[in-house]
Amino acid sequence: MGPLYKMGLFGEQTSFVFAFLIGIAFGFWLERAGFASGLKLALQFYFRDMSVLKVMFTAIVVCMLGLSYFNWMGWIDCTQVYINPTYLWPQLAGGLVMGVGFVIGGYCPGTCLVATATGKIDGMAYTVGALAGMFTFAEVFDWLADFYNSGAMGTVLIPQQFGIPRGYVVVAVVIMALLMFWGAERLERRFAK
C-alpha cells in the first residue's frame, strides 16, 4: 500500500501539502519536548538533562518497530522507502561540523528554527548563521565539489552490507536504546545539582 506517494495515491503537489503538515507537527512536538531552549539542549553535554537522547532514541525505536510491523503486514513496502545515499567522507565531515556547531550554539538545524518560531533571540542568530553558512557553501561549491562527491557508496543498509537479517538489527537497536535510556538516567542522577 505504501509509500503512498510512490504508489501514486496522490501527486507531487498534494505531497507538498502533506510535507507542510508533517513539518508543522514535527516542529510542534520538538517544541513540546522542550527543544526550543538552547539551555535545555546544552545540558545534555553536561549529562544533566538527557532528554534529547531519550526523545531521539524513542523516535528511532517507535519508527523502526512501526516500519517493521507495517512491512510485515504488507502496509508499506520498505524497499520503496527513500534512503539517503552514503557519501562517506563528506558525511563524516558534515557530522563533525554539525556536532561542533551544536556544542557551540546549543541548537541543531531543526531546533534552531523551532527556537526562532518561539521568539528566542539566540535561535534567530543561529538561523541567520545557518543561512549564511548555506550561502557560503553554495558560493564555494565548485571548489568543494570533488570532496562533496567523494566516498559515494550508494544506498547502504546494515542488513545488506553485513548480511545480517533485518530482524536482528532491530533487536540490537532496541537493546542499545534500552541500555542508553538506563545509562542516561544514571548519568542524570549522578550529575544532577
Partner: protein, 216 residues
C-alpha cells in the same frame, strides 16, 4: 507529563514491552525481500502508463533551449553511428556498456538523463532496466533519432486555419531545425548520413549531484 515522574516499574515494563515487540518482529520472514529488485514491476509499469518514461522531440528541444541544468543526453547507439550523426551535446554510451559502474555513476550524478537510440526501442528497454534498478530522473526520447530528424528537418506546416499554438509549434520546430542543421531547416536530412559531426567527445563527468535527491 515528565518521564522522570514515571515509576521505575513503569519504565521497566515499557522497556520489556518494546523488547518483546522487537523479538516478535524477528519472526517476520523478510529475508526474501533482500533479493528483490529495488523497484517493483507495478511502479515501473505505472510510470510507463503515465508517460513518465519519455519526452517528445519538442520537449527535449525546449529543455536544450532552456539549458536545463544537469541535463545529460546519452546516445546508446554504436560509436560508428554516433560518429556519423548525433544530437549536439549528447555523449555516447553504447547500450552494452550502459550498466558499467562508471557509466551508472555518471547517470546517478546527472540531474536528468535522456536516453537516445535510433528508433526509441533500445532506449525504452534500457529505461526499463534502469528504472527497475531504482534509477530515477531518466527518460527516453520518444521515437528516437528517426522522429527527431523528422520533426526538425521537415516540420509539417500547419493549415492556414490553425490555431496559434500549432503555428508556434511549427515556428519553434523550424527554428530548432535551422539551428541544429543549418539552412532553413528543410530537407537537410542528409546530415544524418554525412559524417560531418565532430569526433566523439570525451565523457565529461558532471560535478553536481542529482537534483532528484529526496529526503532531508
Amino acid at each position: 507529563m515528565n518521564l522522570r515522574n514515571l515509576s521505575a516499574d513503569a519504565k521497566v515494563l515499557g522497556g520489556l514491552g518494546i523488547l518483546l515487540l522487537a523479538l516478535i518482529a524477528l519472526l517476520n520472514p523478510e529475508r526474501r525481500d533482500l533479493h528483490r529488485p529495488p523497484v517493483s514491476p507495478e511502479i515501473v509499469a505505472g510510470a510507463i502508463e503515465d508517460g513518465a518514461d519519455h519526452v517528445t522531440a519538442d520537449d527535449l528541444a525546449h529543455m536544450m533551449v532552456d539549458k536545463v541544468p544537469g541535463l545529460l543526453l546519452v546516445d546508446l547507439r554504436a560509436p560508428s553511428d554516433y560518429a556519423s550523426f548525433h544530437i549536439d551535446g549528447s555523449i555516447n554510451i553504447p547500450l552494452p556498456l550502459l550498466f558499467s559502474e562508471d557509466n551508472l555513476a555518471q547517470l546517478h550524478a546527472a540531474g536528468s538523463t535522456v536516453l537516445i537510440s535510433t528508433g526509441g526501442a533500445h532506449a525504452a528497454q534500457a529505461w526499463t532496466l534502469l528504472r527497475a534498478q531504482g534509477m530515477e530522473n531518466v527518460v527516453t526520447l520518444l521515437g528516437g533519432l528517426n522522429y527527431w530528424m523528422n520533426v526538425f528537418t521537415n516540420p509539417n506546416p500547419p493549415p492556414e486555419t490553425a490555431a496559434d499554438p500549432e503555428v508556434a509549434t511549427f515556428e519553434f520546430r523550424r527554428a530548432v531545425g535551422a539551428h541544429l542543421f543549418g539552412g532553413a531547416g528543410e530537407a537537410v536530412a542528409a546530415a544524418a548520413v554525412e559524417p560531418t559531426a565532430p569526433p566523439v567527445a570525451p565523457i565529461q563527468r558532471p560535478k553536481k549531484r542529482g537534483k532528484g535527491d529526496e529526503g532531508c
